[in-house]
């Protein structure tokens, strides 16, 4: 198992923002065998279901959420022929326009990196105990579907 700490950990849940460039650099890690890197970056929309959204609040089940995200990465690494994957999800208050989640996969060839990235974000939405609340000018509501 990885003993990496802090920002170099490949799976993280954090309140602070992240740098896509830095995560890409860490993923690549000078690996000459990597020929394709695909990333999915989820950002906060300023509208939802025809309403303005000013900000989002994310809540997690501390401990279990990180465990589920680690399991997700392990499964992606087994299921797809990728060299490495990193997953970073923010929690707490996120203003419209800010970054929420980053999934980044590196492989020898691009095809599996695209597949791994798409599978990972779809599965994350169903298996990781994180919840999103939308704050609008007229009130707030929890989101419970997976668009």
């Amino acid at each position: 198992m990885s003993e990496e700490k802090g920002v170099s950990k490949p799976v993280r849940i954090q309140t602070e923002d992240f740098s896509v460039e830095e995560e890409t650099r860490l993923l690549h890690g000078g690996n000459g065998g990597m020929g394709g890197i695909v990333s999915f970056l989820g950002t906060a929309r300023d509208f939802s279901r025809d309403r303005d959204v000013s900000r989002l609040e994310f809540e997690e089940y501390a401990g279990m959420a990180e465990k589920a995200m680690n399991a997700l990465r392990d499964k992606a690494m087994q299921q797809f022929d990728i060299i490495d994957m990193r997953i970073v999800h923010r929690i707490g208050t996120i203003q419209a326009g800010e970054q929420i989640v980053l999934i980044i996969a590196g492989a020898a060839h691009r095809g599996v990196a695209f597949d791994a990235c798409e599978w990972c974000i779809d599965t994350l939405k169903q298996t990781v105990p994180i919840w999103k609340k939308e704050i609008t000018p007229t009130g707030e509501s929890w989101v419970e579907e997976h668009p």
Partner: protein, 84 residues
């Protein structure tokens, strides 16, 4: 004692994020615990009426309604996830 954790909409409805429930040495079934949670927090009745729509966990591992809960366990009752 069993520690029950509630999240997101369920925590808002119950106006608390956690509660403790008595439990004897035999433990209780998870569906019976959910009945006790509803009895203490009637605002959760509609949401917990169809527990199959919820995600349940015992000690941070996914659990099912027919599973046994023992004293000292942490039970999480979670609405559908919406991360990402």
């Amino acid at each position: 004692m069993i520690r029950v954790l509630l999240f997101a909409r369920l925590a808002d409805l119950a106006k608390t994020r956690e509660a403790e429930f008595e439990c004897n040495e035999q433990g209780i079934c998870l569906d019976e615990l959910i009945r006790q949670v509803v009895a203490r927090f009637p605002a959760l009745e509609a949401s917990l009426a169809q527990p199959r729509l919820l995600f349940l966990a015992i000690n941070q591992e996914q659990a099912w309604l027919d599973e046994q809960v023992n004293s000292g366990d942490e039970v999480a009752i979670m609405p559908p996830f919406s991360g990402g």
